[in-house]
């Protein structure tokens, strides 16, 4: 029994790396067999070689990482700082909601990239407009999740605190805020994914730096190795951000059982 469990654990541990290896293996096969569409692409080994020789020691490449990460983090952070309170106010004040929610709902469906032209006109620097677009990407999803979280607070949770004599301030701090934390976490998970989507696209359109720009330049200069290095870098960056956010969420919700 024990050995079966043990085997299962080992199998589970190997499945992940195995799928990654299989992915690169298939890519390699597709290129060497000349599968349609793969003719122009380098093999994984060639890509890795280009990476090691030309990029791993290149500060411009690592700057692209830093620049993109900065944009994501700043946009994401501002979206949290403004979005969480706004969601709370929407959820608690009917007057405020009646006044401002219609405008919010009108702006929400506009895709972040549709904000590019106006934000370039509005903001003084390209950098600030890209951060703004990144912010837009995460902001709406955070507000709507927090608002939803407030609306779904169980009546009983509030009532019980009232019966036990808690003040309005204590109820806000000890009941309302913790009730909304799972919704904030959902907003964060969705938000971080959206910000990476948005920042890469915005960099391709409106910037001269970052991982998105690097990938685009690889295309323009017909060097598919660069495109692939850019794409893999973006994938890794997004993955790193996601596990960081997940780590933060676990610490925010010690009462939720994690596997």
């Amino acid at each position: 029994m024990k050995s079966i469990l043990l085997n299962k654990g080992i199998a589970a541990r190997w499945r992940g790396p195995l799928s990654v290896i299989a992915f690169f293996g298939l890519w390699h096969l597709a290129v060497v067999t000349g599968l349609s569409g793969f003719a122009e692409l380098p093999t994984p080994v060639q890509t890795l070689k280009t990476f090691v020789v030309e990029y791993a020691g290149d500060s411009v490449y690592w700057d692209s990482w830093v620049v993109s990460f900065q944009r994501v983090l700043i946009g994401f952070a501002i979206a949290q700082i403004l979005g969480i309170p706004l969601g709370l106010v929407f959820g608690t004040s009917a007057r405020f909601r009646n006044l401002f929610f219609p405008v919010f709902e009108l702006l929400r469906p506009i895709p972040p990239l549709a904000w590019v032209p106006i934000s370039i006109l509005f903001w003084p620097t390209n950098e600030s407009s890209i951060i703004f677009i990144t912010f837009v990407g995460a902001f709406f999803v955070i507000v709507i999740n927090v608002y939803d979280g407030v609306r779904n607070i169980k009546n009983e949770h509030m009532w019980l605190a009232q019966s036990l004599g808690a003040s309005r301030m204590s109820i806000f701090k000890r009941i309302m805020l913790p009730s909304v934390i799972p919704s904030i976490a959902v907003g964060m998970t969705l938000g971080i994914a959206i910000t990476w989507n948005v920042v890469i696209a915005a960099e391709m359109i409106a910037s001269d730096s970052g991982l998105g720009r690097m990938t685009w330049e690889g295309y323009v200069s017909s060097t598919p190795e660069v495109v692939l290095i850019g794409m893999i870098s973006i994938g890794l960056a997004g993955y790193l951000s996601s596990i960081t956010v997940e780590w933060i969420e676990r610490r925010m919700m010690p009462w939720v059982e994690h596997r």
């Binding site: 019980l160 808690a166 009941i175 934390i181 009462w255 939720v256």
Partner: protein, 272 residues
Amino acid sequence: MNPSSGTLKGRIRISSLAKGYQDKDGNPVKVIEDCSVEFEPGLLNVIMGQSGCGKSTLAYLLAGYLNADHGNIEIDGRPVTGTGADRIMVFQETALWPWMTVTDNVIFGPVVGSGVAKNEARRQADELLERFGLIDFRDKYPSQLSGGMKRRVEIAQALINSPDIMILDEPFRGLDVMTRELLQEYYLTLFEDTRLSTLFITSELEEALFLADRIYVMGPAPDNIGQVIDIDLPRPRTFDVTASQRYLELKQQAMVYLYAGTDDGGGGATGQ
């Protein structure tokens, strides 16, 4: 303890109470209409009725979560104007705060509500949790407890505030039969030790008969409180009581009252 000794707290007097709401189309729906009833203190009063008859609404009005459209509720002569720690409710579904440990849930009332020092509240909580067999679980979160444990924590969470009245709104609904019977015995023992004035809402006749001093049969408005049945089964009770002749007689009688309000009419029920 003799229930007639001393002045018992928690006499509830309800007079001409009315409560309704508007449905989706804006039509007024009456849930409680011209309801007058008195619940004596020191008794385990059970309200029985089918779902939708306004049992929970009555409980929410008493707890102060809802405001009446008309009429009033008095507890020991004082009108109910809002919530108060003199009457604590145990809800149908668990109302424990999932982000707090068992201890933090239990000490919320004394610490946050009444400003008792945390250490002192913890000591009181430990006593209660010890008595309820939960002491080893005091640092767990509610999601780590079974349904029956959660109910016991909720009862401890209420009792630590020494309320005058306990309101239990179908507290054991959704639990398996074994757990349910255990908790019924649990609450019965607790009540027989303390004579804490209790309003217990249920839709299960066996539960009502086993626990109650009095059963108030509730129906839809406008005849909210119909029959009142005195359950004169001796206390302290054990499950043996359910096999007694008197129990069966009371059950028979209660069923007549209960089915009298349904579309089947009283005739069909008396034949059962």
